[in-house]
């Protein structure tokens, strides 16, 4: 009897928690389909017109393109660099591998605001104030730990001794990498890069102080827009972003499993 009551309470509480987690997303989704000029409840009529309208606004599609290029550029750097670092960590004796791994996880430990501000200060002091460039630097370094982590997990699950076997068959270290290591860890590498893409695309805290008026990123454009506008346009844009993020996340889950990426 007691057990059943406890289970009931548990289920009720869990449902409330799940509701809590999904509420803002569902709301954004619902509002994006509303037909009115303002966000008000209850919603009287539904339409998809806001998707068209919102994405026609220059600020949104231009910042979306910026975010897209930025994310691709960040992954283009973090991918190979992270892969190389993971290889080095795996092959090195623990005395060297552990410190290297710890250092590579630094971007996760430093608060985003400190990261962003310190890069801003550095950029101003050195005179390199090109916004795309400093954004590129910041995003590359912020997503790097995730790529490293996924690659390490992928390397860890590789069958033992295949790399040694390849060498006894005459393959130099580079050829071992090309013919054996890389093909076997491709799914993991892809998943890490895909996740890094989402993180860069969605990122706000690090981009905040490094953008300039001419090159906003999509999340920041949304933030600015929301301050002065109360139409469902923002919801439409947000819903699109959510759809993109979830699509990529689903892909990662299918290939490698999200848990491996999140560490």
């Amino acid at each position: 009897m007691k057990n059943r009551l406890a289970t009931l309470i548990g289920i009720v509480w869990l449902s409330a928690v799940i509701g809590f987690v999904l509420a803002p997303l569902l709301i954004a989704l619902v509002v994006s389909f509303s037909d009115s000029e303002l966000i008000s409840f209850p919603i009287s009529s539904y339409s998809v017109r806001w998707f068209a309208t919102a994405w026609q606004k220059e600020i949104f599609w231009r910042s979306a393109l910026n975010s897209l290029w930025l994310a691709l550029a960040a992954v283009a750097v973090a991918g190979p660099v992270g892969l190389a670092a993971a290889l080095a960590i795996r092959r090195a004796p623990p005395a060297i591998a552990q410190p290297i791994e710890a250092v590579l996880m630094l971007p996760l430990l430093v608060p985003a605001i400190v990261l962003s501000l310190s890069l801003l200060v550095a950029s101003v002091i050195t005179g390199i104030t090109d916004a795309p460039l400093r954004l590129w630097a910041a995003h590359s370094v912020v997503v790097l730990p995730y790529v490293v982590r996924t690659c390490l997990a992928s390397l860890g699950s590789m069958p033992r001794q295949v790399e040694e076997a390849a060498r006894t068959l005459g393959a130099s270290p580079w050829r071992v990498f090309r013919h054996v290591t890389l093909p076997l860890m491709r799914p993991g590498l892809f998943a890490g890069c895909a996740f890094a893409f989402i993180l860069s695309f969605d990122n706000v805290s690090v981009s905040l102080f490094l953008v300039n008026q001419k090159t906003p990123t999509l999340p920041l454009a949304i933030m600015n827009y929301v301050e002065y506008n109360f139409d469902p346009g923002v919801a439409a844009v947000s819903a699109t972003m959510v759809a993109l993020s979830l699509a990529i996340a689903w892909l990662v889950e299918r290939m490698v499993g999200l848990r491996k990426v999140l560490g």
């Binding site: 090195a92 801003l120 933030m223």
Partner: protein, 290 residues
């Protein structure tokens, strides 16, 4: 044997690009920030030579420690972070337990739901909450139409809004930390407990949770420190002015152009964080590895 053994030195250099990246874009800028916080004559617009050659002093730190407003904000941020941590514990631990104990589609649903806020931009989360919590938001409209209240509740633009928003985006970190620790517990222990007569609640209280302590610890640490440093969510959902410490820092850079002071405040934030981490780890030090 892994390929570690084949002439290990040939691979170390592969880590170099990554280390250079971290040094150039994290380590050096932080050092720069530290220098900035110690500089006395720096003006925005000066170059790095001015920074290096200028007189150094602890003026900004002295000012900071005597500034009641700043210290007050720090305290308030600590309180908000503590509230967020407690809420994520209350929500996240049952969620992690449920993920751990279920199988199949229900388990997948629970795990995806837990992880969802991580996959979505925090701006979208904050926006969603603003629509829910605003004066004309869904909650208020519903409660008004049901006659439960006569005036809209001030849920947003307040510390409550900040706590709700931060709990939402930080919940996944708690769930993942606890879940990882739970998955290391051999199932046989739970079965043994039940054959010894323990109810489910007793098993969890006496066996599961103590063994998952490491996960709880890292979850609490992660959530608390992330809440301390949060900027965007408080900016969107918080009240006027600068309700939390990171926003005070931001103001030094954007509004009052007191960069050196802002740098000192940033260093203070870093130091407070490290103290919290160190303090927490030493208080709850594990006797055995969990």
């Amino acid at each position: 044997m892994t390929s570690k053994r084949i002439d290990a030195t040939e691979s170390h250099w592969l880590a170099l690009p990554a280390l250079v990246l971290i040094a150039a874009f994290i380590a050096l800028p932080c050092v720069g920030l530290l220098l900035l916080s110690l500089s006395t004559g720096f003006r925005p617009g000066d170059g790095w030579d001015a920074l290096l050659s200028g007189p150094l002093g602890l003026d900004h730190y002295r000012r900071m420690l005597g500034d009641d407003f700043v210290l007050g904000r720090l305290g308030r941020t600590l309180a908000i972070s503590a509230a967020v941590t407690l809420l994520t514990l209350a929500m996240g631990v049952p969620l992690a337990l449920a993920c751990w104990q279920t199988r199949g589609p229900i388990r997948n649903l629970l795990v995806y739901a837990s992880v969802m806020p991580l996959l979505i931009s925090i701006v979208v989360s904050a926006y969603g909450w603003s629509v829910l919590l605003g004066r004309k938001g869904l909650i208020n409209e519903t409660l008004l139409s049901m006659g439960l209240i006569t005036q809209p509740l001030k849920l947003m633009h307040s510390d409550l809004g900040i706590v709700i928003g931060l709990t939402h985006i930080l919940l996944p970190f708690m769930v993942l930390s606890v879940l990882a620790a739970l998955e290391r517990i051999p199932r046989a222990l739970l079965e043994a407990a039940s054959t010894l007569g323990a109810s489910r609640w007793q098993t969890h209280r006496l066996i599961t949770l103590p063994l998952a302590r490491a996960g709880l610890r890292s979850g609490v640490l992660l959530v608390f420190t992330l809440a301390m440093c949060a900027f965007v969510t408080p900016a969107v959902l918080g009240g006027n002015g600068t309700p939390v410490f990171p926003m005070v820092i931001y103001e030094q850079f954007s509004a009052s152009f007191q960069w050196a002071y802002g740098a000192a405040l940033s260093i203070l934030l870093l130091v407070v964080m490290m103290l919290i981490v160190a303090g927490f780890l030493s208080v709850s030090s594990p006797k055995r590895a969990a």
